[in-house]
Amino acid sequence: MTATKAPSEPRSQRAVRRPGDRIFAGSAKASGIFILLVLAGVAAFLVSEAVPALTAPAEDVPGGEGLGAYVAPLVLGTLLGAVLALLVATPLAVGIALYTTYYAPRRVATGMGYVIDLLAAIPSVVYGFWGLAVLAPALVPLHVWAADTLGFLPFFAGPASTSGRTMLTVGLVLAVMILPIISAISREVFSQAPALHREAALALGATRWEMIRMAVLPYGKSGVIGGAMLGLGRALGETMAVAIVLSGGAGATLNLISSSNPSTIASNIALRFPEATGLGINTLIASGLVLFVITLAVNMLARWIVNRRADFSGAN
């Protein structure tokens, strides 16, 4: 692009470089490099601290059966809670976003936007106590019902917990926590769906819902996926709320409603770290490395999904 690329050409024109441009380009590049450095630093720390646990003999790792056996239930617990939260929150968030952008009267929509955004401002400790004190007891009947009627599914095999401090409750608390993130991003992309295409749909005789299906949802799809991934990231890494609500620490199980649940990586680290010593610390950090890799993989997967049909995205 610039003359620096082809210095050997005799008649190469030197583009005028204004100081403002240079400063802006430099600072933008510096910001980009900075975030990569931070990421690399975190990764390097995790790897270097995790190495002792990775190389230690299996019987020295807490639990005595090696790192894999220690981390596996935590990974399962983390994924179960986060995926449950995502499954509950995404449709709800898309519905809220569509309601505020295309159905609600403008005054109601603005007010609702504020209230939803406020959900994001509540500290996770508060969510944790709310989950423990209010939601968990309130959900006990649901647990019993699920065990009775859906018991044939491994997720609801029971026996139903009597305290409600289960993976199901955690998933629902997490769903409330990630709801504002997904709905805020969805709302932004939905409101930017081009009037040109919305009118094209209406002029073909689309009802409002058909117009949304033809012109708004396809346009906003990548934004919704992006928002869902941000929410998933928060759900995967959520520590306090899970640590408070979940009575975890049991082995790997898909059962969402019994009183023996696997813990999650982040809450396990928070609960065990104060008393951990030596190899115990390395093991916890190794589990943190696993969480880091999971989050990275999830984000790359999301990006791949979004880019798969880039031709049809409307960006060209």
Partner: protein, 259 residues
Amino acid sequence: MAKRIEVSDLNIYYGDFLAVEGVNVAIEPRSITALIGPSGCGKSTFLRSLNRMHEVIPGARVEGKVVMDGQDLYGADVDPVDVRRHVGMVFQRPNPFPTMSIYENVLAGNRLNSRRMKKSEADDVVERSLRGANLWNEVKDRLDRPGSGLSGGQQQRLCIARAIAVEPDVLLMDEPCSALDPISTLAIEDLMTELKDRFTIVIVTHNMQQAARVSESTGFFNLNGVGQPGRLIEFNPTEKIFSNPDQKATEDYISGRFG
């Protein structure tokens, strides 16, 4: 198919603002009617009132009657969605759905009618519509590609194909050529001349040569000043409008004199 439209005492509002006042006109079937006039005179607003697209804008409303073959489009029991399924529209800027293929774009309107269509039937509609829009030969080998990959003129013809795929009674065109080069414009004008055998066509244009070339009747809209409502000043056969108009304002506009 093609239907006659009778408009009587039509007032069009944006909120409290009266944008177009007192339009009375009869639009003949199987012909092209052109609407000309300066910017902001309400010709596009009037056009959008013919398929009830005007009221899509918050606060926008209409008083008066638009009767199509005996039925008032603004009657109490008339669903605007039904009106739009019978009155197709082509917009100023080509707007194929970017997330759909060319094939799906053509069928977008048919899919809305939620009729189950056999694959062969759908193929027929696509080919017939694209042929009708003089686009078939250019796109038949890439029907599964996105419509947004076409040139501007091709995109506009794709939009016309999409509008005629549902066999509407009337086709409204809001400055369909203003974003196109002269060659694409000519292609669309030829297309309009072919389509008028089957549809009632109403076109808004800023290009007076275009109005003179393609239309049978022409309406001239004007307004007295900013903030004043637009009015239909004169409606006559195109030949008369461009050679010997009844109104002085029309003559001034056509000959490039204002004031």
